[in-house]
Symmetry: C2
Subunit: 141 residues, 2 copies
DNA sequence: TTAGCTGCAAAAGGTTTGCAAATTA
DNA sequence: TAATTTGCAAACCTTTTGCAGCTAA
């Protein structure tokens, strides 16, 4: 797929004095191949099809490192699990409380809100770490 | 404190064929005495000062019943724990990713956003179950 | 009396950690 | 070689559940 991108990310590890390992290659490849967001569990399953020995804890540790590098972000979609995605995909998540459907909406939808809150409360909204809850079209009817 | 309110909530249990018990009295009293939001853990501690035998599982079950009655809501403030509050307090929560501070803002701040999303995506935003993340004034500086 | 609650202990779900062994640079 | 990563197992934290006993109506 996007092997140039893979190499670019691996280079970031090297630049920090980190190592480029088989699990890391596999995990980043898995992320690049995934749709917009994956749970740690889903990513583990993907990685393990080719590399059965890569352990869940390695996935979590790698995801944490990737967040440190600014390459990955996580979002809490609901009670418990989080999803991870490449941080250049600047969208937000609306989660239906009733059926669990996730609707992705562009960041720009939030700019008005963010400005208002910034002005009134001095709080800089960066909603990436939490989804917005509500009810989707079909559950509203 | 607001014992009329306590009795009103207890009456809701009775109306549904439920029972009014000592733990329930204690838990609702604890909620009424708490500030705007408490974790299940904090509430347990509060309740147990007067009623050491009330078990965590009872707290969770009572909170769930109160949510059923529409008296209580919960919000996920972050990685793991949720906070509970009386549902007539119609505010939203902004959580600072950096220092954990919770800023409460009136619901009305969100109406513009909600309308826009409703129109564009048919999604009815009810952000009560999730906090909005970002950075507070002092962590932005 | 009899549903409905409660306390306890144990499980569950997702994530983190300690440590010795393996691996990268 | 030296420092970083890994796999494993076990811990962790918050919440849920099964069940027998208790209790409000």
């Amino acid at each position: 797929m996007d092997s140039a991108r893979l190499e670019r990310i691996l280079a970031m590890f090297r630049d920090r004095g980190g190592r480029v390992t088989t699990p890391r290659r596999a995990i980043i490849t898995g992320l690049l191949e995934s749709g917009s967001h994956v749970t740690a569990d889903e990513l583990t399953a993907t990685v393990q099809t080719a590399h059965p020995d890569v352990h869940t804890s390695t996935i979590y540790r790698c995801l944490a490192s990737l967040e440190d590098l600014g390459v990955v972000d996580h979002v809490h979609l609901g009670h418990g699990r989080a999803v991870y995605h490449l941080s250049d995909e600047t969208h937000q998540h609306l989660v239906c409380e009733s059926c669990g459907t996730v609707v992705e909406v562009p960041d720009t939808v939030f700019t008005g809100l963010a400005k208002g809150i910034q002005k009134q409360f001095g709080f800089m909204v960066q909603p990436r770490h939490f989804a917005i809850s509500g009810r989707c079209r079909s559950c509203t009817a």
